[in-house]
Symmetry: C2
Subunit: 583 residues, 2 copies
């Protein structure tokens, strides 16, 4: 079946003189998670993972996947005669290098609407000739339609700022410049609107152009209620059809245009050919990274709701024989406790991994392959919910019974590492890649590292991953790792250890950055814990802790107890008291 599809594609390529065609896994908005509509690599190769590049030539088709997908791509693609390039292994070429090596001077077809400006520029810099042409959409049969469900308003009691206030701030910052925006989270944030086009992230497909104190929203009008349309109109938002975006852009000439070449597609860029493009991160990303006081209060509430749900899951789990469930069942129950209480959705696909499965950082149990639990060992649960008040993301690693002392030692080191960061105090001016070492230093001292960042930003009833703040130790001047930490920012704090085929441990709290004190030396910042869920006391081996950390854990548990108490019944309160006893 895949081969027939590829044959049709090759006919089109032949027709248009295209030697090689390029597919990726993003959408028109450079989204991380995409609607079904954009799963074109699956259609043309059989690969069902979330990240890949597919190159289709006249004689061959080649798929490029990273470490987590090496086996899956082999299984899904090789039967279709597709060559799998396992990135990260010896001699594996990156797509661009592969093109340069095997297709020199050939014409590469791309869908410019699904290719970032920066990637297209990279191709051009490597002297690869490109043709921007969507040749595949006409071929795909029975394609899932783009979603067009209703778009709803997130009330000001949640957002803290009205749409008008946010847009006025944009007009003030932009002055005579034009801002072109296609990032779905930024658009949803600016307009205080939410949708359900993408699983787990309550956004809707739209483009936006802000120009001369007018805001153009490219999104089908039938998706708004009459009342909401009136409001949008009153706030100066002009709605145009989603499909009219590119022709609108072509009428803009001689302007200074602010856009983010990492986040904007190439067709947008070429449609703006007669303007001066200024490549920079959107102001909106920085705006939404700093939560206002109302947003902060709401986020606290969302995390209290989340804490209650997880507590109820703990109680349920404590009461059963673990041998009767598997990882998938546990994940389902966590979701159920969340959705039964206050969450309107999950914020990502739950990761619930038992023992050695937790050593795979991207592990996700399915109904078929889920591992049975037992009354021993450890369970890692990385889950989150969407609330009108905010978005949560929490990881706990708990014991299900007897646990090896070496695992308790490692749990204690990871927990201490999490607190090393959360309890830090630092002068304003410090960037996120300068505090990363606090969460790593004790793990590094053991000669071990976790191969991912320490923390990421989180949206307010938006994407669970935002790139400000971005706590990691890389030093890329183009990246967001060296953006200054500011009061109001929210970050995850999630050190871990992952030992292949043995076990994995991660502890993750969400932290709110805030001013601790101001004096002659300047403004000192620190963090407040948002997550309100106890750590497993049975996994802590006190002999690996210093006094400061013991105090910090005790203070945290006391806060969790006092904060959740008003939301609990008698039995739950007693259970929580036990779970938060001082060390």
């Amino acid at each position: 079946m895949v081969n027939e599809r590829l044959d049709k594609l090759r006919e089109k390529m032949e027709e248009l003189g295209i030697d090689l065609y390029y597919f990726n896994t993003t959408d028109y908005h450079m989204s991380e998670y995409v609607p079904e509509y954009f799963k074109t690599i699956r259609y043309f190769s059989g690969f069902s993972g979330s990240l890949a590049t597919l190159l289709v030539g006249k004689e061959e088709a080649v798929i490029f996947v990273d470490g987590r997908y090496h086996l899956q791509a082999e299984r899904e693609c090789e039967p279709n005669g597709i060559k799998v390039v396992k990135l990260g292994t010896e001699g594996a070429l990156e797509p661009v290098d592969y093109i340069k090596e095997y297709y020199p001077h050939k014409l590469l077809g791309i869908d410019g609407k699904r290719t970032s400006v920066s990637f297209a520029k990279k191709l051009l810099k490597e002297k690869i000739r490109i043709s921007d042409n969507d040749i595949y959409s006409d071929i795909i049969e029975d394609r899932a339609p783009l979603k067009d469900g209703e778009i709803f308003e997130l009330e000001e009691k949640y957002t803290g700022l009205s749409r008008k206030q946010k847009l006025d701030m944009m007009y003030y910052c932009l002055s005579d410049k034009v801002h072109v925006l296609s990032n779905l989270e930024s658009i949803a944030y600016l307009l205080n609107l939410r949708g359900s086009d993408i699983t787990y992230t309550p956004v809707f497909m739209a483009y936006m152009v802000i120009m001369d104190k007018d805001t153009y929203l490219f999104c089908d009008i039938k998706r708004f209620s009459a009342e909401l349309l009136d409001e949008l109109y009153a706030d100066g938002v002009i709605i145009r059809p989603y499909d009219s975006y590119y022709s609108f852009l072509k009428d803009i000439k001689g302007r200074k245009i602010l856009l983010d070449e990492e986040k904007i597609n190439y067709t947008t860029y070429t449609s703006l050919a007669f303007n001066r493009i200024m490549n920079m991160r959107s102001i909106v990303e920085d705006m939404k990274a700093i939560k206002n006081p109302i947003e902060q209060e709401n986020m606290k509430l969302a995390h209290i709701y989340d804490g209650v749900a997880i507590l109820r899951f703990y109680m349920w789990l404590d009461g059963i024989d673990k041998r009767t469930i598997n990882e998938y069942d546990a994940a389902k129950m966590i979701s159920k406790f969340r959705l039964d209480y206050k969450a309107f959705d999950l914020s990502f696909n739950p990761i619930v991994a038992y023992n050695e499965n937790a050593a795979q950082m991207h592990y996700s149990a399915t109904e078929d392959n889920a591992k049975q639990l037992d009354n021993k060992g450890i369970l890692l649960m990385d889950t989150g919910g969407q609330y009108y008040e905010g978005t949560t993301d929490i990881t706990r690693t708990i014991s299900l019974g007897e646990v090896d002392p070496e695992i308790r030692r490692w749990f204690t080191i990871v927990l201490k590492s999490m607190f090393n960061l959360s309890e830090a105090v630092f002068l304003k001016g410090v960037a996120s890649n300068q505090i990363d070492i606090l969460a790593r230093k004790d793990i590094w001292k053991q000669g071990v590292n976790y191969r991912c960042g320490t923390g990421h930003g989180v949206g307010q009833t938006l994407a669970v991953h935002e790139r400000i703040p971005n706590i990691r130790f890389s030093n890329n001047p183009e990246g967001t790792e060296n953006v200054e930490l500011k009061p109001g920012m929210i970050t995850s704090d999630e050190p871990g250890v992952y030992f292949d085929n043995l076990f994995g441990i991660r502890c993750e709290n969400m932290l709110l950055c805030k001013t601790m004190y101001e004096n002659e030396y300047g403004e000192f910042l620190g963090f407040e814990h948002l997550t309100m869920v106890p750590f497993d006391l049975d996994l802590i081996d006190k002999k690996y802790l210093d006094e400061d950390t013991v105090n910090a854990i005790n203070r945290y548990h006391e806060t969790v107890y006092l904060t959740l108490l008003p939301y609990l019944n008698e039995e739950e309160a007693q259970y929580l008291r036990k779970k938060t006893m001082p060390l």
Copy 2:
């Protein structure tokens, strides 16, 4: 007298149509410390400090000084009718802003040989018209001549690499590019030569051009012995008169020229007008920052010699009534113990500060103003020596008798902070501004900060301050703070606290960066202590230390004892044993 001098200068300015003349405190090589010859600001204003800017207009003369020189400039310059701008105070304009404000469209005279390219470019960017003209040298009477003492060779047993090897590396890196170099330390390093033109830094005045596998050294030939000249000739070093440098440059055309605009003067830049200039930090700076194994062994030896000298000073101080000496006497004695043993010079002007004087970070006692000591309180000593084996820099804060418990608390926090950094283990790839927080975090937790970097590089029998590595928490992408730490680099580790009018505490060791272990996670780096001098056990209050730090201090003291032992007599050994008892 100053006024007569300024009158003569103004006559010259009138003659040449110059409205305003600019003086700074550097030399032709952008050096931090300069020979007497370049103390022109003192000649034209009376100011004797080490850093200032002087602007001379037709009607006024204005001197710009930073915080440490506010009072001194008032005292020395105001009697001469010179206006003092106290930088850092409310409303004080920086020199460039002052020129823009009060001398718009006027012609500014500069000595281009004493102005960095980057500063000249800044003036031009601000649309300030400049005239590169040394109008003052003819006016200065009885000027101290430039030094022209003998230049000597630092043997390969100290440098680890021959001159030929170093130059061959340069030829290899440069290929067809030309490197113009005027930094005195880089030139001395590359040629394995040393001089005595500048106090405390064993360098000599010279320029260098490396081009087409030839090395041109602009330095007077009479300063070399016949034997050394033969050697230099054999290694392909072509010696030209110091004064012929600029005319040599003017003959270079159509080449790619590597130079560091921060470190090269503007006249050099304009002399190379018909070439393509590539502004970058000199490769030599990165080369010399990584000490080779022979250099490392020599540095260790230099620090052992230094440790013996300081130990002898401690013993001497222990034996006297402190009331009989002042800070200046103590500094003299430290220097004496160094120079009597193995040092051939000091590496900087000793800082010896008693009690509240230590709160001034740049305090330096003179014979006249030195404070008398007493048998109580604390003494901060930041001193260093020049050895053929290397350069040292060490700070110890010691008690002279009874000490307030609050001071012992702060000493313990500072000491712990020093060890927090020295005992760190981190993955290769981490930059120096990412480990800074380790030395600051405990001090920040107290709501206090030290307003300076945590560590600086050090030269090998060269300048005591090198800018790689540069441990601070600033985030300037142009700076050296985010240069990756590498095995073989040497840094100081010198956290402190400075409480105005109360006391100051600093602990400083030199550390050698080295590989700790390599495994599946990568290469882990850490530090080895070079400094071999005990910390004052009487100042440590163990209740503020965690177990890890207690162990680190004990390990360090044990190493100091075992390392110095072979160099000590019976009495000294017993004294050291007492000073290095485990906590």
